[in-house]
Amino acid sequence: MTSSNRDSPWRVLIASSHPLFAKGLLSLLQKQRQADVMLVGMVSTIEEALKALSTLHPDLIIVDYDDEKVNRDEFLARFVEGEGRLRVVLLSLKEGGDEAIVYDRRTMAASQIDDWLENWSATAALEDSAKQSTRMDDSKRTYPKRSENMRHIIGAILVVAIILGIGFFILNRANLLPEQASVQAGKIDGLFNLHFQLIVILFAIVVGVMVYSIVGFRRKSGDYSDAVHIEGNTSLEALWTIIPLGIVIYISYLGAIILGDVERRDPRPVEVDVIASQWSWRFEYPDYGIISTELILPENKQALLHLSSTDIIHSFWVPEFRVKQDALPGGIEMVRQLRVTPTQRGEYKVLCAELCGLGHADMRAPVSVVSQAEFDAWIQAQTEPISDDPVERGAIWAQQFGCIACHSVDGTPGVGPTWLGLYGEEVELEDGSMVVADEAYLYEAIRDPGATIVAGFLNLMPPNIADNMSDEQIDDVIAYIASLRE
């Protein structure tokens, strides 16, 4: 297929081992198409035919369907599998010669063959132009549709540019990330910005071209014909495989580098054991022997958090710090570390990010980032001896061990029974029996919460919640409960 305008005669290759077949056919064709046909070769085997295909560039191959020497099935299979879009006609003189098979293995009657040959030049021209327009890089040819194609490409680029503009406008205006309050947040946000920009750019390219196509390539009314026949383009496909591959590998590489930065270890950090329970947080400062329900951190100094859980999986997250780590049950082996270096003084909140049941939404604890001096003062104040009054101590334990997350002290209904007016009262249990909430009962209920369940409540209290409590601490808590008798 050399050119789209048919000044040159059709190049016909005939595959048959009978010379008469060829000559007769040629004269027939010439008669029908006014000498517009040129016989470029005669072959008698498939190998010869395939060779001739590449050297002689025929437009039409006519195969003698009756010739046993030319294995037509194999020929057809080889041809159909091939890349070339040639025409093959299998002609048979048997059965009155009224059947032929064209290249797409359609069987048609003799009368249809005539039609097919008539229309043949027209379809070939159409197809040629389609081929040309997909091969933009071949400059030796003339392109009747080149300017139109250029117009479409420029149009699409314009639409992409408009969407890009809108996208970046929104990106710059939108409130997308919370305050940046740690060294790690700064690094992570850099990566976020790159990601956001890539999202906008890629979205604009795909949607832009799509929107342009929807507008520019809609079917004109009254036009019921099909569009151009373009099957694909291997170099384009390779291009849009390799470029994204490069991009994602680069981003992964950047991600790994920044992960390294985020996890960088500073010498002598502030160490805090973060203990999560359903549904409270406890913060222990092992260097100072402090237990707190609030996470106090000095600014510009790395904090090394040792995360663990007493019951199920929780997750430590302060959005302003950007980093997150699950807190796992399972003792010392399952303790996980998280490093964060706060940079902004202020009040934040730890949020539990892993669904942990009933009180998940409210599992929050305050975080304060303070100056080093304030931090030291706080340590000083906390390390002073705790009150002598067991009731006061009990109130502190109740808070630190998370009891009051479920047991209210003012009578509000919660996950567990309220402590207000509980001590010494008769309580109905799940099985209908009655029990007096005295010291012995309360001790048992804290040590082994599942043993007896108060009627109307679920067995939700973690069985090992008191594992870290001493008997003295439990006694203090009971004293505190007793003080809430009204």
């Binding site: 327009s133 194609n149 929807i214 099909d226 099957e231 796992l328 399972g330 669904l355």
Partner: protein
């Protein structure tokens, strides 16, 4: 007609009886073991298990197999059921893949409706801070069920598309194993019943992911029903995909090489490979937790030497590839419909086909990206970041091929095409919001936030919901012989598309700003009320659009215009058949003689029959 003559109702009654018998049996065993007869969980689980088995007997889907086992003559299938007309055909056992396809589809839409109602309920709760009308416990049950019921719906929808389309599109008369096909559908029904029973048997509060130790909490018996339901459902996935693979490999029409299959078959085939090989893992992981609950085996209980992270590996080893189970068939539908409405060949057919297989393959190597904050080995996160990012490459090939297909086409925009275009743009949003999750450093912020919620809703809507609706509208005339109402169809689309964008972008934004996933209430300090209001409003709009869709379907099935033989002027073989398609699809076998998508190539045909073919291209 007696209700008991219909498989569905007979099965359900058998299930109720079977559950009672099973419960009695467990109590008897407990008494023999000198335990108190009544302990809710083991008794209910035993009953539920028995109920599933008796359901299957009740439907008589096992009848032929039992006959074979007894060495009896098996009559030709269908004879008993042919007389049934209308909806009754679809609540009875049939071995016809088209009937089964519609059964899958109807069940899928029903599940979607239920899960959608759950969503509307908890979105209303989230419209402003503070608890409005729900208790947190019920909220947790609702979000958990919304997730898993939607997943059921999606898997059923994928089953609908692959069952209805694969045999028709490859020129086969039915699936390779029609009885197994019916079994795989019917086992879904008791699974759905079990799942719904979660609502009444104590609820569940760990999300559809069901991470232990929370899901091993014995206070919530709903978990056991959930695990058992998913387990049963998984059996359907495994058997159904086995059938699809064998059908695709063995029953293609003569001349249809793998690279001449309609492209949606490639999607269904890739999907089936994943479902056949990965589903066992979720079944196993849920079975282990079930055993932990009932027998006290501490697989994941640290106090008994178990490990909580192990579960997550097992779970995600299925549940990540499952994402591609959800979307690959849908993406296949996009590639299938696009050429018809653009009137141009699918650009780079082989690349698109191979990209489906590529996604399926890479999908197996990325599971741990769900676990970047889980506390697994820190250094392992980096290779999983690289492997996850690789998914973008074959996915990108699909997008670029789609826009190249549109380029210089002659596009028309009936409802299915609108849904195809909507699907592309939304799946793009879902796809592009993926890399920030895949990058470990940014994932540390995003994990378990509403960003993730927005991200995966976009992939599910773009990869399944929109293509599923496109497929329903496109093949509606094939299934029913009637046309749907175009105005209502377009209204459905134009409500759903913008509403979805508002919802998804809103979710992503609140997530970035600090909104955690799965919380019943949020802190007013975050200042997110405005966005939450819009998200809820958009959710309502999506709900309304679904109602419009349902109305359209119901009206059109009965009163729609009689459809033309080939309303979309498609080259595909199913449109050369009468609509609805007769029981054994191709009375006259077809032969494939050309490429599937040669639009614009005059005179070319895809399939031929002995009678003269209809030329697919050129004006009429």
């Amino acid at each position: 007609m007696n209700v008991l003559s219909l498989s569905l109702f007979r099965g359900l009654i058998y299930q109720v009886i079977g559950t009672g018998v099973g419960m009695g049996l467990v109590m008897l065993i407990r008494l023999l073991m000198r335990l108190p007869a009544w302990k809710p969980e083991p008794v209910w689980v035993g009953g539920a298990l028995m109920g599933v088995i008796t359901f299957m007997f009740g439907t008589r889907v096992l009848e032929d197999w039992l006959r074979w086992a007894r060495g009896e003559e098996t009559p030709e299938p269908e004879h008993g059921h042919e007389q049934l007309v209308g909806w009754k055909r679809f609540v009875n056992v049939s071995f016809d893949h088209k009937v089964i396809g519609v059964q899958y589809g109807a069940t899928s839409l029903l599940m979607m409706l239920i899960a959608g109602i759950f969503a509307i309920l908890f979105r209303t709760e989230l419209i402003s801070p503070g608890m409005q009308y729900m208790v947190p416990d019920f909220f947790n049950t609702l979000i958990s069920l919304h997730g898993i019921v939607m997943i059921f719906s999606i898997l059923l929808g994928v089953g609908a598309m692959s069952n209805y389309l694969v045999p028709l599109l490859i020129g086969a008369n039915d699936m390779a194993f029609p009885r197994l096909n019916a079994f795989a559908y019917w086992i879904n029904v008791p699974a759905v019943v079990l799942l719904m029973s979660v609502l009444f048997l104590g609820g569940m509060d760990a999300g559809w992911t069901g991470y232990p130790p929370l899901s091993a909490n014995l206070a919530k018996m709903g978990f056991s029903m959930f695990f058992l339901g998913v387990y049963t459902f998984g059996l359907s996935s495994i058997l159904g995909s086995l059938n699809i693979i064998v059908t695709t490999l063995r029953l293609r029409a003569p001349g249809m090489t793998m690279f001449r299959m309609p492209i949606v078959v490639w999607g269904a085939f890739s999907t089936a490979i994943i479902a056949l090989t990965a589903t066992q893992l979720i079944a196993l992981s849920f079975q282990l937790v079930l055993f932990e609950r009932i027998f006290g085996m501490g697989f994941f209980d640290p106090t008994k030497g178990g490990n909580v992270i192990l579960f997550q590996h097992l779970f995600w080893f299925y549940s990540h590839p499952a994402v591609y189970v959800f979307v690959l068939t849908g993406l296949g539908v996009i590639s299938e419909l696009l050429p018809v409405f653009v009137r141009k060949p699918l650009f780079g057919y082989r690349w698109v086909a191979m990209s489906s297989l590529g996604i399926a393959l890479i999908g197996f190597f990325v599971w741990a990206h769900h676990m970047f904050t889980s506390g697994m080995e820190s250094y392992l996160r980096v290779p999983f970041m690289y492997s996850t990012m690789l998914v973008a490459v074959p996915t990108g090939v699909k997008f670029f091929s789609w826009i190249a297909t549109m380029w210089r086409g002659k596009m028309i925009f009936p409802t299915p095409m609108l849904f195809v275009l909507g699907a592309i743009s939304i799946f793009l949003l879902g796809g592009l919001s993926g890399p920030p999750n895949a990058t470990v450093a940014t994932n540390l912020h995003l994990h378990d936030t509403y960003w993730v919620v927005g991200h995966f809703h976009a992939t599910m809507f773009g990869g399944f919901i929109f293509p599923f609706f496109a497929a329903i509208y496109y093949w509606f005339p094939k299934m029913t012989g009637r046309m749907y109402n175009e105005t209502l169809g377009k209204l459905h689309f134009w409500l759903m598309l913008p509403a979805f964008y508002i919802q998804s972008l809103g979710q992503m934004q609140v997530g970035l700003l600090g909104m955690r996933r799965r919380i019943a209430d949020y802190d007013p300090v975050l200042g997110l009320e405005g966005t939450h209001f819009w998200i809820t409003l958009a959710g309502y709009l999506i709900g309304i659009s679904i109602i419009i869709f349902m109305v359209n379907m119901v009206l059109s099935v009965r009163r729609g215009e009689v459809a033309e033989a080939n309303p979309w002027n498609s080259r595909s073989p199913e449109w050369q058949l009468p609509s609805p398609v007769p029981a054994h699809n191709y009375e006259e076998p077809i032969e494939v003689v050309g490429e599937p998508y040669d639009y614009g190539l005059a005179g070319s045909v895809y399939t031929s029959r002995k009678s003269p073919p209809i030329p697919a291209a050129t004006g009429d």
